[in-house]
């Protein structure tokens, strides 16, 4: 390890420490019991088998899949900040299928919902992908715009065409039993969506590492000009595919959230999974398998933060400060991140 690398590690560590310390000092100054807050954080995330399975791992499931979405895109040099919108559209499309075909048997219905969710997410990403390929629109801006549009779309659906029959609450009717993902046991809320997320991550990791397509993806992300000139790679095509795959993962995450956790669509169904996903992917160094570990870590953090808000009154939004601190620390430490930039 060179001296410079070592130094940037120190900078990164110092930054995270400063941010966490600053937040702690702030909370303390506002009269919160830090000990109780930390206690609630640990209890709510890893304090018991129930907290671990039904809190942390349930929360980790969408984070692994959206983190995977971000990792695949960033790996190809595509700055998909739109996992949030793709998640929402996937959730909406999945709910629509679940409600329309509620009488279909589960072995047919559940795969249909998940596939439609993934296709919807990919379609949402496709808009930004085409804007990038045809019109050179920076995908950072377009995907963020699409996030807002998706949020308003969901808002419209749950107050309009998909609203529950009594037309009182801004949400859809509950999906049928057949549309709900099986759980790992009677006493846990952990559903098989977690297994799907883990399998998707491992499969993607293998594809990126071992196949020609995976090599092209890495080559384009590392240096698009070199990939084009020396590797005879169709850069635009690789980026388009990565973008669509990314949207599909995020869309499927949305469908899984509906079928495994919420059983209905409503506004704010995502507490910002698509944004947390960026931290999940970066902390995993954009490695599709490592996303499982970082997804579980952030799942624990968020499940714990919910417990912290409930039991100690500390606002859970504090977690995004910590997430931002982690991203910034990694960016400062890792000059390799310089290669992950837009090419337009």
């Amino acid at each position: 390890m060179t001296a410079e690398r070592l130094r940037s590690r120190w900078i990164a560590g110092g930054l995270v420490a400063a941010i966490v310390g600053g937040v702690a000092a702030l909370l303390r100054a506002s009269g919160f019991e830090l000990g109780a807050a930390v206690d609630a954080l640990l209890q709510g995330s890893v304090g018991s088998w129930y907290a671990l399975g039904s809190g942390t791992l349930v929360r980790a499931t969408p984070l692994i899949l959206t983190g995977l979405a971000v990792a695949v895109a960033f790996r190809a040099g595509v700055f998909n900040i739109g996992a949030e919108g793709q998640f929402l559209v996937g959730a909406a499309a999945g709910t629509a299928v679940a409600l329309s075909f509620h009488a279909m048997p589960a072995p047919l219905l559940i795969p249909a919902i998940l596939i439609v969710g993934a296709v919807a997410g990919a379609a949402w990403a496709w808009v930004a992908a085409v804007l990038r390929a045809r019109f050179h629109v920076l995908e950072v801006i377009s995907t963020i715009m699409l996030n807002f549009i998706a949020a308003y779309l969901v808002s419209y659906l749950v107050r309009g065409p998909l609203q529950e029959p009594t037309h009182i609450y801004p949400q859809t009717a509950a999906i049928s039993i057949a549309a709900r993902l099986p759980r790992f046991g009677a006493t846990t809320r952990l559903h098989i969506g977690f297994a799907i997320a883990v399998s998707a991550s491992l499969a993607t990791w293998w594809l990126i590492r071992q196949t020609a397509g995976g090599f092209r993806l890495r080559a384009v992300g590392a240096n698009p000009d070199a990939a084009r000139v020396a590797g005879q790679i169709d850069v635009e095509r690789v980026m388009m595919r990565a973008f669509l795959a990314s949207g599909a993962f995020a869309g499927m995450a949305g469908a899984i959230e509906v079928c495994g956790v919420t059983y209905a669509l409503y506004e704010n169904i995502s507490p910002g999974y698509g944004y947390t996903a960026i931290a999940v992917a970066l902390l995993a160094r954009l490695n599709a398998a490592a996303v499982i570990v970082t997804g579980v870590l952030f799942g624990a953090l968020e499940a714990g933060a919910n417990a912290m808000q409930r039991d100690a009154g500390v606002p859970s939004v504090v977690v995004s400060v910590v997430e931002a601190g982690i991203i910034l620390a990694l960016v400062a430490a890792d000059r390799g991140a310089r290669r992950m930039r837009t090419t337009s």
């Binding site: 629109v137 377009s142 807002f148």
Partner: protein, 304 residues
């Protein structure tokens, strides 16, 4: 009908004001070759600063605190973008996330979970004699808060500075070819620090406008994507301050369309109107970016 038209123009200018402020700052930043995605966070922190400043120091305190907060957030971004040469898009996204988290936490800890009923001084409209009595556009353009009149002045000033002064030339040179500018004796990093700080101040002012001249209060996440829209406005305005001013008006008009359509008695889902500015941003970017050329060094880390 004429009252609907007046209301439309008024809403256009009102909506355009914070967008123009933020975009005029960002155009300077981007001309220095830096893409500051954290503008969203800058505006949000500016809005929060305005709330805190105004509740103890009145209107002037609110505006000053907002500018201070905006500059501070922008400088955090600059530490990563300029000093560490980190990827600007990732650093900017993270700083925005940081701002969302910090303002949310601060707001809830300082003002309680309910966000207590707040009464802060607000900045009402002031009529400009003669001009405000022009038909239709008069009240819309010349019966506005002071900060809107500031925008009318800042647009030509930034244009003049950018195209008619040596400092402006140096700024544009950095955005096109930082290494060449450096060789010619321009202190690239210092200019970028200053440009980012200026952009932060303008973004903070935009946030202050939301609180002090419009909403009269603060809400979590109240910037609602205006930072990103401002970045799009810079593109639509072709990186020229005059174009940016016009583009901001265009976006203001798109948002104000809902008032006009409601006045005409059309009953469409309100989410359609809320989503319209974002759809328009996409359409405008698709229609214009092909023909407008970005500063060559924009968001590129390897060039410098």
């Amino acid at each position: 009908m004429s009252s609907a038209a007046t209301a439309f123009v008024e809403a256009t200018v009102r909506t355009a004001t914070p967008l123009a402020l933020a975009a005029l700052g960002e155009v300077v930043v981007e001309r220095a070759g830096v893409l500051n995605i954290s503008l969203e966070g800058v505006i949000l922190f500016g809005a929060f600063g305005a709330l805190v400043g105004a509740s103890s120091g009145g209107l002037a305190g609110g505006y000053l605190a907002a500018i201070g907060c905006g500059v501070a957030v922008a400088l955090v971004f600059a530490v990563f973008a300029v000093a560490f040469r980190a990827d600007q898009i990732i650093a900017g996204t993270a700083v925005t996330l940081l701002s969302v988290g910090l303002t949310g936490t601060l707001y809830r800890t300082v003002y309680g979970a309910g966000g207590a009923a707040l009464s802060i001084p607000t900045n009402g409209p002031k009529a400009i004699p003669l001009l405000s009595s022009l038909p239709i556009v008069g009240l819309g353009f010349f019966y506005q808060p002071i900060v809107t009149y500031a925008v009318y002045a800042i647009v030509p000033i930034v244009w003049w500075w950018m195209y008619r002064t040596h400092a402006g030339l140096a700024l544009r040179a950095i955005g096109e070819a930082p290494s060449a500018a450096f060789a010619a004796g321009v202190r690239v990093d210092r200019v970028r620090w200053l440009a980012i700080a200026f952009g932060g101040g303008m973004g903070g002012l935009a946030g202050a406008t939301l609180v002090l001249a419009q909403a009269g209060t603060f809400a979590e996440g109240m910037s609602a994507g205006r930072g990103f829209i401002a970045i799009a406005i810079v593109v639509v305005g072709r990186w020229n301050p005059l174009g940016v001013g016009l583009a901001a008006l265009l976006f203001g008009a798109a948002s104000a369309l809902q008032f006009l359509l409601q006045a005409l008695g059309l009953s469409l889902p309100y989410q359609l109107f809320l989503g319209l500015p974002y759809v328009l941003t996409l359409a405008a970017l698709a229609g214009l970016t092909g023909r407008a050329r970005a500063p060559s060094a924009l968001a590129k880390v390897d060039d410098w």
